[in-house]
Amino acid sequence: MIQLSGLTKRHGDVLAVDDLTFTVRPGAVTGFLGPNGAGKTTTMRMVLGLDRPTSGTVTVNGRAYRDLPQPLRQVGALLEAQAVHPRRSARNHLRYLAQSNSLPERRVAEVLDLVGLTDAAGRGAGTFSLGMSQRLGIAAALLGDPPVLLLDEPVNGLDPEGVRWIRTLLRGLAAEGRTVLVSSHLMSEMALTADRLVVIGKGRLIAESDLDAFTESGVLVRTPDHVAFGRRLELAGARTRPGNEGELLVTGMSAPDVGRLAAAEGVTLFELAPRRTTLEEAFMELTQDSVEFGAAR
């Protein structure tokens, strides 16, 4: 279990992480989502005691990270996959990490085997592709067989087979009762991997709930009067947002009610269809106000 309470990090004038409070439960994969620059990595670095919080606290299984006696046996982390010495072999990279926490030497061979790098173990890590580096990073995280795992963008650079491999791996680790926190900026990937989602934007918590709660039913309406009708729907208590040309995505009102309202107002409808918003759309909507480096619209 990872517990954050009022966690805040300020870099000069910039609030990188702003009063974050949430809990990551064991036995589930928790997706940690946010646009680039939302503060995901900074948050994870604070969990690991690498960055000092400006205020607030974070504990892992009830203890501050720096108080863990042999941290790699408690928490496994993948932050930057390519943070390895280019001339040092993958095996030696894992060996020194194992030695630092008095882990048995055989764990090195076990995790190399687990991530499928046994044949490349003697090669300098600088010769690895991004996908292989990600696998090495995951091997390092699993070295101490820890009950808590933190992975920052682990699917970056993996091919489709690698993505599926990591998805299965993470789900298996959670099924064993471990706490798994995985950050991503890809909602579609998290839709397939995570049980729960924590969404942040500009360092602030935007949403935290089970995956199902993020997808909600809505109604797609296509009409020539979409601007006026949209306003009318809002007055009636629905929420709308523009879709493609002449389309409205309506939530908070059923399709029959939208149809009745259109008839009462004399509005011509070309299309009226119930639909489920995808997780991707929900994410875009949630974070549209908090995109750090968004393209001009």
């Binding site: 690498l50 000092r52 928490v75 943070a83 280019p86 040092r88 990279h93 020194y96 030695q99």
Partner: protein, 265 residues
């Protein structure tokens, strides 16, 4: 009592693990291993060069000049170059982790305090044997070069040679710890090595400096003070000269540790 013993035991185990990890890091990259060997090889080469030059000078010298001849002077001249390599070795033990980014994983694995302690331990463990080899080889090669041409030399047991052979390696090891501190402070190999080289070579400008500055960098500067303390006729009390370097090293290491403790990795 038992609990305290157990805690001490696991504390020792953790320190040993951190040190073993540092050894694996040290031994598994080429730069540190090559630099260690280079420091020793350069020592031998410079000793032969300066020994040969001294032989030439001695043969052409007048009787009065021959009386003032100190064979330890050409024998140890190479230390001005070798000190740069040994300090660089210390710097690399910290800075190679910044260049590659492994510093985050290392801090997460053992914590800041134990990491710095293990790196200081690793610096001593690598720099001390290298320094012993470098200084003894320097002494042996230069004395042999000079003796083969009939120039008077000193035996290893001579008091004037003995202090250099025994304390000299400690002086170089201390400079390796200075390098380590600079590596931690500068967080990069290039910056750390540049700063340490400037710091250690500054005394070269002593002769062209105004009086007071000449004293500061020519007599009291940490590395000069310690090297001068090893000469047969030191211009500072020996303990003061060595104490200046020891104090400087301790303060710099303390500052580096405090900065490392307080800032983000």
């Amino acid at each position: 009592m038992k609990a305290a013993d157990a805690m001490r035991a696991t504390g020792t185990m953790k320190a040993a693990g951190a040190l073993r990890a540092e050894w694996t890091k040290f031994a598994s990259i080429r730069a540190t291993v090559v630099l260690s060997g280079a420091a020793v090889a350069v020592s031998g080469l410079l000793a032969w060069l300066f020994g040969s030059a001294a032989t030439r000078d001695y043969t052409e010298a007048t009787a009065a000049e021959r009386l003032r001849f100190d064979p330890m002077d050409p024998a140890m001249r190479g230390v001005f170059i070798v000190q740069l390599l040994v300090a660089g070795l210390g710097a690399l033990i910290a800075s190679s982790e910044y260049g590659s980014g492994t510093i985050a994983a290392s801090v997460a694995a053992v914590g800041r305090r134990r990491l710095v302690a293990a790196k200081a331990g690793m610096t001593v463990l690598s720099a001390l044997p290298v320094s012993v080899a470098a200084i003894w080889l320097m002494f042996g090669v230069s004395m042999a070069t000079m003796a083969s041409h009939g120039v008077p030399t000193l035996g290893a047991g001579d008091p004037a040679a003995l202090i250099t052979l025994l304390v000299g390696p400690l002086v170089l090891t201390s400079l390796a710890l200075v390098g380590l501190s600079l590596g931690l402070l500068a967080r990069g190999t290039a910056a750390a090595v540049n700063i340490s080289t400037a710091l250690l070579l500054l005394p070269v400008f002593a002769t062209v400096s105004p009086g007071w500055l000449r004293n500061v960098i020519g007599v009291y500067w940490p590395n000069t003070a310690a090297f001068r303390a090893l000469s047969a006729d030191p211009d500072l009390p020996r303990l003061l000269g060595l104490g200046i370097l020891a104090g400087f090293t301790a303060v710099l290491l303390g500052v580096a540790f405090a900065r490392f403790e307080s800032r983000d990795v």
